[in-house]
Amino acid sequence: MKIVVPIKQVPEVSEVRMNEETGTLIRDGVPSIMNPFDELAVEAAIQLKEAHGGEVTIITMGPPQAKDVLLKALAMGGDRAVHLTDVAFAGADTWATAFTLSEYIRKMDFDLVICGKQAIDGDTAQVGPELAELLGVPQICYVRKIEISEDEKHITAHRETDEGYEVVKAKLPALLTATKGLNEPRLPNIMGIMKAKQKPFEEVNAETLGTELQLLGLDGSPTVVRKVYPPEKKKGGIIVDGEDTAAAVKQLVEFLTKKGAI
């Protein structure tokens, strides 16, 4: 099976802090990691390859330093990496990101694309469905379990829903997005890390991609981030000591009644 896994490098969101004085994000010194949901996607692709043979291509669109996550995915067991990198890609919204990825992927021969459910920085979960549409293949989002039919022409997946899950069958090629519960991503071992450096690694810029510049990056993005600001702080949160249980509870119940919450 030929599997493509689009991954994204993201800041470790749990280490992002606000500068209280200026109200801006402090990103300096915040480590960059592979988007956690994308690790599930890479692991799923490697497991499918181990069971059915084939090739796993890892692809990212991002600045030069995003190479790190590609190398990690290769060290986990991916076969080759594609790095779409160019200032012309900068400022892309989800549509422009999906479009840029699709411009490369549609020229490939693939059976399956596996994305993460969402990137933990933007939290949009849109690149997967948009990429599926641009590639003209069906999508199954929020997948927890994957089975490939014996003839390797169909996929059956457990798709998480608001009430539980549904079992969905589709003909390949198709696109999936991976969610929690799909697998436990492996850690790259020393051998893997050494081998990663020898694996095929392709760098692609706007010119080699051969796409009109106005469809890429900020210019190609239908949505525009007009303003970014810190969320309103919870002002005047009350904190009481629970040592005196009765008094603390009484105060809480009064608070809730006054607010009309109960």
Partner: protein, 399 residues
């Protein structure tokens, strides 16, 4: 698109690094320098610069085409024939947007045997309800619903289309948007119309650490998914009347490339959904033992609330996945949220920080949850909860 910084004009006031949320501007001698790998072109620096040394040249568009687009549409999702509660919220918010524009609100409902919901949506503010009813739409499938939505949208040209940010809504909206070649903004918590009659879409990002305002200057319709429970439904007005249009959309089975073989409910009998509840009683690892969940359940029963859990509680199998709150679980926005024995890590906060009122009970005075709480008690849940239950009981009994 070009980014221009005129170093000679720059007066070195150092205002721009302080407004850059992405750490892309650094002091460079007595001037500044830009790291374009970090820049997202939000324009904050351009706006604050007192001497116009920064200029972002954006593409210009022919906006006359945009005038062809009118009216606000809301996609009203059903589940097994039942209207999801977010549909009423969308209708309420859609009404407000339509009023701000002086245009009509159209509710779209797709499914099978769902016609009877039309009145509910009219009472909730819709001027018109479009009904697409066929057994092909009985189960949600991306393909069938995308075809239905795009074939409705294309000839009728709404200027705004809102979807609920439910599992299916977030599957469908970006697919519809991509087919129409327009933008889509995910999981909005605020919507407004600006002076240029554009939809200003507000949404949290970076685990709730920043709020972004997003617009779609050049393409229509403007499509967004809206976080459930953020907008509260208005009182239905049963005297309202409106138009109902049934549209026949025929889809052949070959156009639907996925097939739902089975639907498995993980909803435990009698367990309220965290996404739809007004009150949530959520427990974290501090609850220690599954048997202890009886306490929060008791409080939940008393308040007609949903029982929730942090990720470890769900991973341990103490509560079903449907009840997990946070980045890899459900995003919730109740009127009242109890965080019991929850530390409040960013991934948890990302799923609940927009709740109206947050009450935290935690032994550790340093727990981050307290900085997000409206009312916190530093103490042991096992001594405080029983007391709280009996006090609330007294208040409710006295009514």
């Amino acid at each position: 698109m070009k980014f221009q910084y005129d170093r000679d004009t720059c007066n070195g006031c150092m205002l721009c690094p302080s407004v850059c949320n992405f750490g892309a501007i650094e002091k460079d001698g007595d001037k500044v320098k830009f790291d374009m790998n970090k820049c997202v072109y939000c324009g904050s620096c351009e706006e604050i610069c007192p001497v116009d040394a920064i200029h972002i040249e954006r593409r210009t568009f022919d906006k006359s085409k945009l005038l062809e687009y009118h009216n606000v549409w809301v996609f009203c999702e059903t589940n097994q024939g039942r209207l999801r509660s977010v549909a009423l919220e969308l209708a309420t918010e859609g009404r407000a947007l339509a009023d701000a524009l002086g245009e009509k609100l159209v509710a779209v409902i797709i499914g099978h045997e769902i016609e009877h919901h039309a009145d509910t949506l009219i009472h909730q503010g819709a001027d018109k309800v479009i009904i697409v009813d066929d057994k092909m739409f009985a189960d949600y499938t991306t393909d069938a619903y995308t075809i239905a939505m795009t074939s409705l949208i294309a000839p009728r040209k709404p200027s705004i289309v809102l979807f609920g940010a439910t599992g299916n809504g977030r599957d469908l909206a970006p697919r519809v948007a991509a087919r129409m070649g327009v933008g889509c903004t995910a999981d909005c918590t605020g919507l407004e119309i600006d002076d240029e009659r554009q939809l200003v879409q507000t949404r949290p990002a970076f685990g709730g650490n920043v709020i972004a305002e997003i617009i779609t200057p050049a393409r229509r319709p403007q499509i967004s998914t809206v976080r459930p429970n953020v907008f509260k439904p208005s009182e239905p007005d049963t005297s309202r009347t409106g138009e109902v249009e049934k549209v026949d959309i025929k889809i052949s089975p070959v156009q639907v490339r996925t097939r739902v073989l089975e639907k498995v409910s993980e909803v435990v009998e009698g367990m309220k959904s965290v996404e739809e509840a007004d009150i949530i009683v959520c427990s974290g690892r501090g609850i220690k033992d599954p048997a202890n969940l009886a306490l929060p359940k008791q409080l939940a029963d008393l308040l007609d609330a949903a029982v929730g859990g942090s990720r470890p509680i769900v991973d341990l199998g103490w509560l079903p996945p449907t009840q997990q709150v946070g980045q890899s679980g459900r995003t919730v926005c109740p009127k009242l949220y109890f965080a019991l024995g929850i530390s409040g890590q960013i991934q948890h906060l990302a799923g609940m920080s927009s709740s109206d009122l947050i009450v935290a009970i935690n032994k550790d005075p340093e727990a981050p949850i307290f900085s997000s709480s409206d009312f916190g008690i530093v103490g042991d849940i096992f001594t405080i909860l029983p007391e709280l239950i009996s006090e609330i009981k007294k208040v409710l009994d006295a009514r």
